[in-house]
């Protein structure tokens, strides 16, 4: 890849010359590979090389952003001129600006972001892994009748950020991902489920066989699902779903949601918003975290943030704009694409592990739901009030044991009630699904809508 630090600093100089008060340039370039194998045949083979550049400028406290995928000299120069023009239509806002100078910088510790060995893995090997995963899944049980395919995807990307206060930063990262989705059929009813393994390092992926078998096990377990009656019961939340609770809290605690009055956490700093068993941390400096990075999209040096400590909301998470408005400090929590302005987003965000094993948690429930999936997440939850109503799938718990699968039911309530009703926290915290993670949780009561 070419060195984009030079391009970024040249553009900043051009903006200075044209009279911008401040500016930053964000460049991302990546290349990727993606293949899908279905029923043993290659269905798709895709290669990509991609890049984009975003320029944000401030003039008289107003903001403009322009972006392009065309890095030729003329095209980029034209865009610099246009940026200076469109900023005239934007209104001044005293809180606009770059992040405070003293917070800029790169986290100096070791972060495991880039897999040097990925480049030497051949396409043949990746295709073979997808085949192996699908074969293992299809051989697992005779009720597995079809496959939506197994995919192997990887990407290598580089982020460059420079601003007019002298910050220049760059980092590279890799990802590998192997996933599989299978169908099972019994008594005329079809079910589908999937599994995947995901890591920054190719060698740390679970084996294709393990992925195949896990996908198969999951789909077969769904056969014979039933609906249950509407009722209020304890709910054990599987880590695949419990991590979504972290994203709801993070979103509601973001400075933008607070000043926009679009949050169920307004005026809640210092008060108890969750059970004392709950501590929520966002840590972009976790050494092997899937979402780790040395600095955020405004160039703020990464550092861990404790959002909730033993049930008490400790802080909001802010970009520099909302921090100035709310008289807080930016928390290094922004991310962006080249097409967007920086906004607050979680990195490695998690509920700290507790002491109970998942088995103990399930055993403690006489009659209740083990929740493994949600439908309509993002649409059926209201971030202003915290109310949610979502489709749910899982297993019924009877006398401390998982029994039959349950589908076509809903779960409804309020996020704050769910957080307060967390009565057990599992010891099974793992970053298997990306930056968001949480252990198994027990919520003492939620409302199920069913038959």
């Amino acid at each position: 890849m070419p060195d984009y630090k030079n391009l970024a600093t040249e553009l900043l100089a051009a903006f200075r010359k044209q009279g911008a008060d401040a500016a930053d340039v964000y460049i991302v370039s990546s290349n990727g590979f993606n293949t899908t194998v279905r029923l043993g045949n290659i269905e798709r083979l895709q290669q990509s090389i991609s890049k984009g550049l975003g320029m944000r400028i401030f003039k008289n406290n107003a903001i403009a952003l322009t972006y392009t995928t065309d890095f030729t000299d003329k095209s980029v120069r034209d865009l610099v001129n246009q940026t200076m023009q469109i900023v005239k239509v934007s209104n001044p806002d005293e809180y606009n600006g770059l992040a405070p100078k003293e917070l800029l910088g790169s986290y100096p510790g070791k972060l495991m972001l880039f897999d040097e060995k990925l480049a030497s893995v051949t396409p043949e090997k990746k295709i073979e892994m997808a085949k192996e995963a699908e074969d293992a899944g299809r051989a697992f049980d005779k009720r597995i009748t079809n496959s939506q395919g197994a995919s192997f995807a990887d990407s290598t990307s580089e982020v460059t950020l420079a601003n007019s206060d002298g910050f220049v930063g760059q980092y590279r990262g890799t990802f590998s991902n192997l996933s599989l989705s299978l169908l099972a059929e019994e008594n005329g009813v079809k079910q589908t489920d999937f599994w995947f393994t995901f890591n920054r390092f190719f060698n740390k992926l679970d084996s294709p066989k393990a992925v195949g078998q896990k996908a198969a096990e999951r789909v077969v377990k769904k056969l014979g699902s039933r609906k249950v009656k509407s009722q209020k019961v304890p709910v054990v939340i599987d880590p695949y779903v419990s991590r979504l609770l972290v994203s709801l809290v993070f979103g509601a605690a973001s400075g933008g949601s607070i000043y926009r009055k679009s949050s169920f956490l307004i005026d809640k700093v210092g008060s108890e918003i969750a059970s004392p068993l709950v501590t929520i941390v966002d840590d972009a400096t976790k050494w092997d975290g899937p979402s780790s990075r040395p600095f955020d999209a405004e160039g703020v040096k990464s550092s861990p943030v404790t959002l909730v400590e033993k049930g008490v909301l400790k802080t909001y998470v802010c970009d520099s704009y909302s921090a100035r408005r709310l008289k807080l400090k930016p928390t290094g929590s922004t991310s962006r694409s080249y097409q967007s302005l920086p906004s607050v987003n979680s990195t490695n965000s998690y509920i700290q592990a507790g002491t109970s094993s998942p088995q103990e948690i399930i055993k403690s429930v006489k009659d209740g739901l083990y929740l493994t999936g949600l439908l309509g997440f993002g649409q059926g939850n209201n971030n202003v009030t915290g109310d949610f109503s979502l489709g749910a799938v899982g297993f019924w718990i009877e006398n401390g044991e998982l029994t039959y699968p349950v589908q076509e039911i809903t779960l409804a309530g309020n996020v704050l009630d769910v957080l307060k009703n967390i009565s057990m926290v599992g010891n099974d915290l793992e970053f298997k699904f990306g930056g968001l993670a949480a252990p198994t949780l027990l919520v003492s009561e939620m409302t199920i809508g069913g038959a």
Binding site: I86, V87, S90, N91, L375, Q379, S389, G449
Partner: protein, 522 residues
């Protein structure tokens, strides 16, 4: 990855701002040209000879078919908060996607660099899906098809004077604030784009198109005591600024957002469980999109992944249901002059009086099912492969007066506005999220209810559609459909419809099952 086919009413489609007076000549020149503009020369500087060479390279390892998809997209976004333009954005994205097909196998590569050498690299990468020593197909002479323009635009949003867009935003802002003193915040956004596309394939088909689309949205927060609620409304389509004089005023969109926010302040908890639901005309078409639409996309069906696979000719819905997908409605959000593989859209009969008639096909799935493409091969952009996708999906009107439908319900829910939905196409279970609903008691609409999710099984719910109204209405706004990580704009419509029972995701548990239709075992 888990299949997540869904639809959302986006508060902000991506993008940024423009004003004709501001643009430099080099860019303005192309943008203001009419549809018959020389897209290829203006935006891509690729000759027919080069295209032939690229197609030949893509076929060189034995593929049956090759195509090139060039895209130059200008996006624009204006965001407005607290009586101020918060940010102005504009972007230019361009690239080419090159595809080789052999049977149902696809090789794909894309490049943002449109130099001949880089495009040739991409062509060779795509070609590698096949691995014969020599080509089996030759490139046919390219001839251009000129589809009818279904999105005539009087004043293209992306190149219009910025002050005009600002005027609509200001109008909306004032109207929302004036709606009620309870409105404490108003946000507005104007998001628009125009795509210049050029396409050629190895069978000699080529076309160019200009696809405009915009979404104008307003969101409001209402406050009363300690309670705070939100409302959102949007409008737009493949149309220009004349939308605001011909179709809907900016102030009306804003007042609708304000109305929803204020209404929600009084919303009560809904009861959980099976209930009779009357779906209002328009937005409720999310039901069609999720319960039948995705399941009838042909790629899921030739692979036998859908619960509708192999069921053409069977009864899959009540006789009251006739459902079509039709990309031909002028200026509608899901309309396309030509699909992204060179096929013209059609009125595709999906379900006729309850009987499954056919699927929505892209090229590969039509070939696999030995049928014709229906003009449903769509892609988000040059960096994605086309797939079978919906355009504008709707249900034909029935015989009932909407009032009569509501009167027929003793106890139930009237669901009017929706935020989106999601479906598992294999089992057919789907959800859709209600933004505005009311109790129906003794045939009358009473208290507003808090947002709830409805969950059901597609084929099962469609057999429970017992009454269909005469009031077919198409939904306005920025409806966006997601499938396998690709988003495309869609349209949809439905008349008022009664579903005899569906599970409602409320927080209150009913003492008895009061729909009284049948008993259900757990």
């Amino acid at each position: 990855m888990k299949r997540r086919d869904f639809m959302v009413k986006s508060s902000l489609a991506l993008a940024a701002v423009a004003s004709s007076e501001l643009w430099l000549d080099s860019i303005v020149r192309g943008e203001t040209m009419p549809l018959n503009l020389p897209v290829l020369d203006t935006y891509f500087q690729v000759s027919k000879e080069d295209m032939n060479k690229l197609l030949a390279a893509t076929l060189s390892k034995g593929a049956d078919f090759a195509d090139l998809f060039f895209e130059y997209r200008i996006t624009s976004l204006l965001t407005f908060e607290e009586d101020k333009v918060k940010s102005a954005r504009r972007g230019i994205i361009s690239g080419v996607g090159i595809r080789a097909i052999r049977g149902d196998q696809v090789g794909y590569a894309f490049s943002e660099d449109l130099s001949f050498a880089k495009m040739m690299e991409a062509a060779n990468a795509a070609a590698a899906i096949a691995n014969d020593p020599v080509a089996r197909q030759r490139v046919k002479a390219i001839s251009e098809i000129r589809p009818k323009n279904l999105y005539p635009v009087a004043e293209l949003a992306t190149t219009s004077d910025l002050s005009k867009k600002l005027a609509f935003i200001n109008e909306a802002n004032e109207a929302a604030k004036a709606y009620s003193p309870k409105i404490v915040r108003v946000n507005a956004s104007f998001s628009d784009e125009v795509k210049y596309l050029a396409y050629a394939n190895s069978e000699g088909v080529s076309w160019t198109d200009m696809q405009p689309v915009f979404v104008f949205g307003t969101s409001c927060i209402a406050e009363e005591g300690k309670r705070r609620e939100t409302g959102y409304e949007s409008g737009g389509g493949r149309i220009g600024l004349e939308y605001f004089s011909k179709k809907r005023k900016a102030a009306d969109i804003a007042r609708e957002a304000a109305r929803l926010a204020v209404l929600n302040l009084k919303a009560e908890d809904a009861e959980a469980g099976l209930q009779t639901v009357v779906l209002g005309a328009g937005d409720s078409a999310v039901l069609l999109h999720e319960a039948v639409g995705h399941g009838l996309e042909a790629d899921f069906n030739y692979k036998k992944l859908s619960n509708y696979s192999g069921r053409v000719g069977e009864k899959v819905a009540s006789e009251a249901c006739t459902v079509l997908d039709e990309g031909l409605f002028e200026n509608m959000r899901g309309t396309i002059n030509v699909d992204d593989e060179g096929n013209t859209p059609t009125a595709t009969m999906l379900i006729e009086n309850g009987i499954l008639r056919g699927y929505m096909c892209d090229r590969i799935s039509a070939q696999q099912l030995k049928t014709k493409p229906t003009g449903n091969g769509r892609r988000e952009a040059y960096n994605y492969v086309p797939m079978a996708r919906m355009t504008n999906t709707y249900m034909k009107p029935g015989k009932y007066d909407p009032e009569e439908i509501i009167k027929s319900v003793k106890k139930g829910i009237y669901a009017k506005r929706f935020t989106g939905g999601q479906v598992d196409i294999t089992k057919g279970d789907f959800t859709f999220s209600v933004a505005e609903s009311y109790r129906i008691e003794d045939g009358k609409i009473t208290a507003p209810l808090k947002g709830v999710t409805l969950i059901g099984n597609g084929p099962e719910v469609m057999t429970k559609v017992t009454m269909v109204g005469s009031d077919l209405k198409f939904a306005d706004g920025g409806w966006t459909c997601g499938k396998n990580g690709q988003s495309v704009p869609v349209g949809m419509g439905i008349p008022t419809v009664k579903v005899s029972e569906i599970t409602v995701g409320g927080t209150k548990v009913q003492a008895v099952n009061e729909t009284g239709k049948e008993s259900h075992d757990a």
